[in-house]
C-alpha cells in the first residue's frame, strides 16, 4: 500500500473523531492526532480500534502509546501487514 492510499484511508477512519475538520483536509504524514486534529485521548482509542478492524490487525498497548501521529500509524500498520 502506498503512502497516499494509506493517508486517504486513515482520513476517513479519523473523520468522525476529528474536532478540527480543516486540519483533517490538510492531513499529511506529520499530522499529530491530538495537537493538530484535536482528537481527545479517549477517541484516539476508537481510532486505533477502527484501524485494527480496517486492516484486520491487533495493536499492542506499547504500539498504541506510540501511535500519536499519521507517520507512526503508517509505520505500525505497515509492519503489521508484513507480518501477516
Amino acid at each position: 500500500m502506498d503512502k497516499e492510499t494509506f493517508i486517504a484511508q486513515l482520513r476517513e477512519i479519523v473523520r468522525p473523531y476529528a474536532k478540527n475538520q480543516e486540519a483533517l483536509e490538510q492531513i499529511s504524514a506529520s499530522t499529530d492526532f491530538i495537537q493538530d486534529l484535536k482528537i481527545n485521548s479517549a477517541n484516539l482509542v476508537d481510532v486505533v480500534l477502527d484501524v485494527e478492524e480496517k486492516y484486520d490487525i491487533v495493536i499492542q498497548n506499547e504500539e498504541m502509546e506510540r501511535m500519536l501521529n499519521v507517520q507512526a500509524a503508517m509505520d505500525i500498520v505497515t509492519s503489521k501487514l508484513k507480518e501477516k
Binding site: N40, S41, A42, N43, V45, D46, V48, L49, N61, M64
Partner: protein, 148 residues
C-alpha cells in the same frame, strides 16, 4: 474481588456517592442499585415547585456503577493500594421516565469493550417496576496509576 471490596475502592464519598449496592458483577456486566434520598438539596431547585431527579444525576448513577465499579473489577488483578483515577469521556443517553424523590433505581450495564484503558458500556436504568428510565452508552478512561 467481592462486591463489597469494589464498593470500598470507589473514589466517591457522600454527597456524591451514587451506588448503594451491587447485585451482580462479572467480566461482561454489572447490576447495581441506588435510592435517591428525598432530602437531597437539589430537589429544592429542580424544579422549584416540582421535585424531579436531574438527568445528570441519573447519568452519574449509571456511570458510577457501569464504568467505575466494572472498571475496578476488570482491573482487580493489577490494583495496588491506590484507587484508579477515572474520567468520563463521553455519554449518549436517552431519557424516558422521571425519577421522583425517594425512588430506588437499578443500573444494568454491559461492557462493549475495554481496550487501552478505555471502557465503553451500554447502560440501562430501571425503576422499581422494571420500566426503563433512561439508557444509552457511557465511555471513560480508567487510569490505574497513583495520583500525582
Amino acid at each position: 474481588m467481592t462486591k463489597e471490596e469494589i464498593l470500598q475502592r470507589l473514589p466517591y464519598t457522600p454527597p456524591f456517592l451514587f451506588v448503594d449496592a451491587l447485585e451482580y458483577i462479572d467480566e461482561e456486566k454489572v447490576i447495581g442499585s441506588y435510592t435517591f434520598d428525598a432530602q437531597m438539596p437539589c430537589y429544592k431547585g429542580h424544579f422549584s415547585d416540582y421535585p424531579v431527579t436531574p438527568g445528570v444525576l441519573l447519568t452519574e448513577v449509571m456511570a458510577q456503577t457501569g464504568l467505575v465499579c466494572l472498571g475496578i473489577y476488570l482491573l482487580r488483578d493489577t490494583l495496588t493500594a491506590h484507587t484508579p483515577r477515572v474520567a468520563m469521556t463521553a455519554t449518549y443517553i436517552d431519557f424516558y421516565l422521571s425519577v421522583f424523590p425517594g425512588e430506588t433505581v437499578t443500573v444494568h450495564a454491559e461492557k462493549v469493550y475495554f481496550r487501552f484503558g478505555k471502557l465503553k458500556c451500554s447502560v440501562v436504568l430501571k425503576n422499581a417496576s422494571g420500566e426503563d428510565i433512561c439508557g444509552g452508552t457511557i465511555e471513560g478512561m480508567i487510569i490505574n496509576k497513583p495520583n500525582e
